[in-house]
């Protein structure tokens, strides 16, 4: 179960090298050496996380761009962000 709240904000941790492959992205965590592949949708979320962004705002943007039902999208985005957080690819921004 995702612990990501829709009100919270996240940004990239700066621990990953990234490489764009057509519409997708591959990330390499520079400490663990683990790779992560992001599909087109994941890549868009990753782009939005370049600066501190609220989950709410990410979902607003994604609903508009991908024309998907909001309920399912929110769950998917929260699950994805939890994975990024667990892998230390994103952090909660300091105020």
């Amino acid at each position: 179960m995702s612990k990501i709240s829709i009100q919270s904000s996240y940004k990239r941790s700066g621990k990953a090298a990234q490489s764009r492959v057509a519409a997708e992205t591959v990330l390499l965590h520079m400490t663990s050496g683990l790779y992560f592949g992001l599909d087109e949708v994941g890549t868009r979320v990753w782009e939005l996380l370049e600066t501190a962004t609220a989950v709410q705002q990410i979902c607003d943007q994604m609903v508009e761009e991908f024309e998907v039902p909001r309920d399912q999208l929110e769950v998917d985005v929260q699950t994805f962000l939890q994975e990024l957080l667990d892998a230390e690819l994103i952090v909660v921004p300091e105020d």
Binding site: A17, V21, A22, E24, T25, M30, G33, Y35, G37, D39
Partner: protein, 281 residues
């Protein structure tokens, strides 16, 4: 050929006969457990061990490597194979180029590449296709600008059944670190200049149905990374360079997972789907 690759990479080496070498703590092993890495001290000195009787120390600062060998199963031929199959690909990779564990054959003016770990049928596919095209290489392929594929050497390494099928009665040499595989040299068909890559194929585990599954960019990139050579596999900065190179290749060439039965009689059908994908690329 070997010496020129080593010299052009700026390295030099020596060989030493040593019995019963002992290693410290293993810091890395490849997926098949063939190659193990041991740190000796500083970042710039480490050992890659291919067996108890065959290991190599690399000195990054001075660009030298030293081969340690002992035992009855290691001879000059075995050391030559180690250099061309395992050491040169790693030196070229360290020099900044993408080197893949792959086979490649040129069909017309473009190369098809088969990227996979050992045992997925790369050599068999190359042995079959080179009858109509030209073999580039079947184990380590250097990716140059273009992107193009270039071999380090032109020999094929085949298991005994494939050897009997494609090269009956040919003269072969065993491989030191893969005793079940034999190497057959193809003197006339090979060439070493870079050939533009037309399509990438990732042989999947055996299946009855012959089909190609197009692969997405990130998946292709990560599959390339899994099958590349690195001198120091624990060097993450180098891994980031490899990731950028793999991304570039994955962005510019179509990639497919290749599903096929391990049945010589059906290789013509496999060839047809490969050529169809190549002509569509």
């Amino acid at each position: 050929m070997q010496d020129s690759w080593i010299a052009s990479a700026g390295w030099s080496f020596s060989k030493k006969l040593v019995a019963g070498r002992k290693f410290g703590e293993c810091v890395w092993a490849d997926r098949l457990g063939i190659v193990k890495m041991y740190r000796v001290g500083s970042e710039a000195l480490f050992t890659l061990a291919f067996s108890k009787n065959l290991s190599v120390d690399f000195y990054l600062d001075t660009k030298e490597f030293e081969i340690f060998w002992s035992g009855n199963d290691v001879d000059a031929g075995a050391i030559d194979f180690l250099i061309s199959d395992q050491i040169i690909p790693r030196l070229i990779s360290w020099g900044g180029r993408l080197v893949l564990h792959a086979g490649a054959v040129s069909m017309g003016d473009r190369a098809v590449m088969f990227v996979a770990e050992s045992g997925r049928g790369k050599s068999t596919l190359c042995a079959f296709l080179q009858r109509e095209g030209r073999l580039i290489g079947d184990d380590a392929v250097v990716v140059s600008e273009g992107p193009s594929a270039q071999a380090i050497y032109n020999s094929l390494r085949l298991l005994p059944d494939s050897l009997a099928e494609f090269f009956p009665g040919s003269e072969t040499k065993p491989l030191a670190h893969r005793p079940s595989k034999q190497r057959v040299h193809i003197p006339s068909s090979g060439h070493l200049k870079p050939i533009p890559i037309g399509a990438l194929f990732f042989p999947a585990p055996p299946s009855d149905v012959i089909r190609l599954q197009p692969m997405h960019g990130a998946e292709t990139c990560m599959s390339l990374i899994e099958n590349c050579f690195a001198l120091d596999p624990t060097d993450i900065k180098h891994a980031a360079v490899v990731m950028a190179q793999a991304s570039e290749l994955a962005s510019s060439v179509p990639a497919y997972s290749l599903h096929f039965p391990r049945d010589y009689g059906r290789l013509p059908e496999v060839r047809d789907v490969i050529l169809e994908a190549l002509s569509a690329a």
